[in-house]
C-alpha cells in the first residue's frame, strides 16, 4: 500500500511539474489570470461602490450571489455536525459533583440523591474537574471584551482595511470558545445557549437573503444594492456600500454561530454537558 501510494503521488507530482513549464513566471503582470476580468474590478470598484477595499467589494457586491451560497454551505455544515453528533436522549451520569465554593469541599452525589440548588456558594463541576486557575480565568475575563470589540471593528471597518464578515465572525466565535475553554462548557452554554446559537446562524443567512429580496421588492435585480438608495435616502453608489455592510453583518452572525455550534458539539461529543 505504501509503495503503491508513493508511486501514485510521484506520478501526480511529475505530471503537475511538467505542466508548470507552460506557466507564466511568478509575478508576471501580463499573466492570463490578471488580464481578463480583474482589471475591470480594480479600475471601477471605487466609482461603482465607494469601497476602497476591492476584495470586500468583489466578495459582497459583484459576486454576492456566490458568497450567499458560501454562507449557506457553512450553515449546512453546522447543521450536519449537529445532526451527526447531538444525542437527544438525556443520559444522566451516575454521579454528579458539586463544589462548595467558600470552603472548597467537593460533594459527590449518587443517582437518586437530592441535588443541591445551584447558587453562588454551590456550583456543579465536571467529572474531570481540576482546580480553578485564577490567572488564566482573570486574563481571559479581561481580554474577551477587547476581542469582541476588535471583531466588531473588523466587521464594520472591512470597507477600508482588511477584514469583513468572515474574519469578524470567526473572531467573535473564538472569543466565546476562549470563554468555554477557560471556564467550562456549562457556564458558556448558560450565557449563549444552543438554541440561541442555531437561531443566530439562521438569522445571519436570512439577513443576507433578505437584503437581496429587498432589492427585488424595490424593483431591481437580486442583490443589486443600488436599489436601497430609496430606503436610505442616499445616492446609489453610497447605497451599494451600505448594502455591503448589511450583508457582511449577516455573514458575520452566521459564521460566528456556526463556529460556536461546531465547538459545542465537538468538545462535548454531542452531549453538551462537559467540554474540554
Amino acid at each position: 500500500m505504501k509503495v503503491l501510494g508513493a508511486i501514485i503521488v510521484l506520478l501526480f507530482g511529475s505530471l503537475l511539474i511538467y505542466c508548470t513549464l507552460d506557466f507564466p513566471s511568478w509575478g508576471d503582470p501580463a499573466s492570463p489570470a490578471s488580464t481578463h476580468v480583474s482589471p475591470y474590478y480594480i479600475e471601477n470598484t471605487l466609482e461603482d461602490t465607494a469601497v476602497p477595499n476591492i476584495v470586500t467589494a468583489v466578495l459582497a457586491d459583484y459576486r454576492g450571489y456566490d458568497t450567499m451560497f458560501e454562507t449557506v454551505v457553512i450553515f449546512s455544515a453546522g447543521i450536519a455536525c449537529f445532526f451527526l453528533l447531538r444525542s437527544f436522549k438525556r443520559i444522566e451520569p451516575d454521579t454528579r459533583l458539586y463544589r462548595h465554593v467558600p470552603t472548597g469541599i467537593t460533594f459527590r452525589i449518587e443517582k437518586g440523591g437530592r441535588y443541591p440548588r445551584e447558587s453562588v456558594d454551590f456550583e456543579r463541576i465536571d467529572l474531570q474537574w481540576v482546580p480553578h486557575d485564577l490567572i488564566i480565568k482573570t486574563t481571559c475575563r479581561m481580554i474577551i471584551p477587547f476581542i469582541q470589540i476588535f471583531a466588531l471593528y473588523v466587521i464594520a471597518h472591512g470597507h477600508h482595511s482588511p477584514g469583513g464578515g468572515f474574519q469578524g465572525g470567526v473572531i467573535l466565535g473564538a472569543s466565546v470558545i476562549i470563554f468555554a475553554v477557560s471556564h467550562n462548557l456549562r457556564s458558556s452554554t448558560n450565557r449563549i445557549s444552543e438554541k440561541n446559537v442555531v437561531l443566530l446562524s439562521t438569522t445571519g443567512v436570512l439577513l443576507y437573503a433578505a437584503t437581496g429580496g429587498l432589492c427585488l421588492l424595490l424593483g431591481s435585480n437580486f442583490l443589486d444594492y443600488s436599489a436601497l438608495s430609496q430606503i436610505f435616502g442616499v445616492d446609489s453608489v453610497t447605497a451599494r456600500s451600505f448594502g455591503i455592510l448589511l450583508v457582511e453583518i449577516g455573514v458575520g452572525m452566521a459564521v460566528m454561530a456556526v463556529m460556536i455550534s461546531l465547538y459545542y458539539n465537538l468538545a462535548s461529543a454531542g452531549k453538551q454537558d462537559e467540554g474540554l
Binding site: V55, V154, V170, A174, L262, A267
Partner: protein, 81 residues
C-alpha cells in the same frame, strides 16, 4: 530580498507539513498543523493577500486547531503511524 524571505518560509512550511503527518502523537500533529497554518498566513501576507492572510490567521491557526484538539480529546491520542 523579498524572494529570499519567501523561500525560507516555504521551506519551513514544507518541514512543518512533513512533521505534522509523521509525528506519532495526534495532539502534537494538531499543534504542528497550527504552526503550518500560521506560516502559510505569513506567506500570504508577503504575497499581498492581506484579507486571505487575516482569514487564515483566525481560522487556520485559531479555530481549526481548537477543533482538532477537541476531537482528539474526545477520541484517542495514540496512533500507529
Amino acid at each position: 530580498m523579498m524572494w529570499l524571505i519567501q523561500l525560507i518560509i516555504l521551506i519551513i512550511v514544507v518541514v512543518t507539513a512533513l512533521a505534522a503527518i509523521t509525528v506519532k502523537d495526534l495532539l502534537g500533529a494538531a499543534i504542528l498543523f497550527g504552526a503550518y497554518s500560521f506560516m502559510m498566513c505569513l506567506l500570504w501576507a508577503i504575497m499581498g493577500a492581506v484579507d486571505v492572510a487575516f482569514t487564515e490567521a483566525s481560522v487556520g491557526a485559531g479555530i481549526s486547531t481548537v477543533l482538532f484538539v477537541a476531537a482528539v480529546f474526545r477520541t484517542s491520542r495514540r496512533t500507529k503511524d
